[in-house]
Symmetry: C2
């Protein structure tokens, strides 16, 4: 499996893990005075930090752009207009469906591709460096911060919810 395809497959799995965290968040809200779980989407860990909603949108974008830019395609647009758990779940589903449609073949020639950086005109990264130095850390930054916001709020999550399933072999 090429590294590009493996990275996208792993990001897709992680976004599926985020869906299970939201299930736990809803259970937590129900058990704790049956509060509206959508409130969690506006929580954050510092006043000048993104909310849970924006962290999930950021994770979706990091994964989507990693797939699009390393394969040389245009990414589908998402207007960031979600306000509810139902809507952010639909966003996760949309991005996961997009990622799942990629095949090994889409990344042929990726090692020769350069990815321009929109915030740094005239500069860019090789696709390999983009995946390793930018997309992957940025993706995990947003999923881990989303996880931390839920943990801080009291949602019952542990490392197994973060890591999710593994491609186990007998040794």
């Amino acid at each position: 499996m090429t590294q590009y395809f493996a990275t996208i497959t792993q990001m897709n799995k992680m976004l599926g893990n985020v869906e299970t965290w939201l299930d736990e968040a809803v259970s937590f809200a129900k058990a704790k005075n049956d509060f509206d779980p959508n409130v969690l989407l506006s929580m954050r860990l510092a006043p000048d930090q993104y909310t849970l909603l924006k962290q999930i949108q950021g994770a979706c974008d990091a994964a989507k752009f990693c797939a699009a830019r390393t394969s040389g395609k245009d990414a589908p647009k998402h207007p960031d207009d979600e306000t509810t758990l139902e809507q952010i779940r639909a966003r996760l589903q949309s991005v996961r469906t997009y990622l799942a449609a990629f095949t090994e073949k889409d990344f042929e020639g990726a090692d020769q591709r350069l990815v321009p950086l929109s915030f740094m005109p005239g500069k860019g990264l090789t696709a390999a460096d983009y995946a390793c130095e930018m997309a992957t850390p940025n993706f995990y930054f947003h999923v881990t911060t989303a996880y931390s916001i839920l943990r801080h709020a009291g949602v019952n999550l542990g490392k197994r919810h973060f890591i999710g399933s593994l491609s186990l072999r007998d040794v």
Copy 2:
């Protein structure tokens, strides 16, 4: 550059980024009533979550074991006995020196290697899956949580401190 070597190189850079976050933490402590910055090492985001100290130890271990296990070597031992910023900085330096000594050649044959999972007797992952599904998410989990604990405490950090330097090219 092989993916294994690129991953270790990136983890080494990220641990260097953590050192700069600790510099910012010390500046923050000095500016805010000159409190003892070592206090930050005992902070956490949830009562049943690791402290900042343990998050940094966890990041160090994830990187060290990723390098050792994908290259088929024994990892150096670290007894997790740090209690101060000075000591955890020495731990970061020790692991960064270990990572920096790896070369491309150390990862020859890694694609044929299986990594046993200590918490799952009889089971393991290919070295490629171990790096992608276990070591990388676990590493970023700990570095991002360390970052979030500092952000939550008020330390003046932003995304640029998280991402750090990039291998820029002209495009």
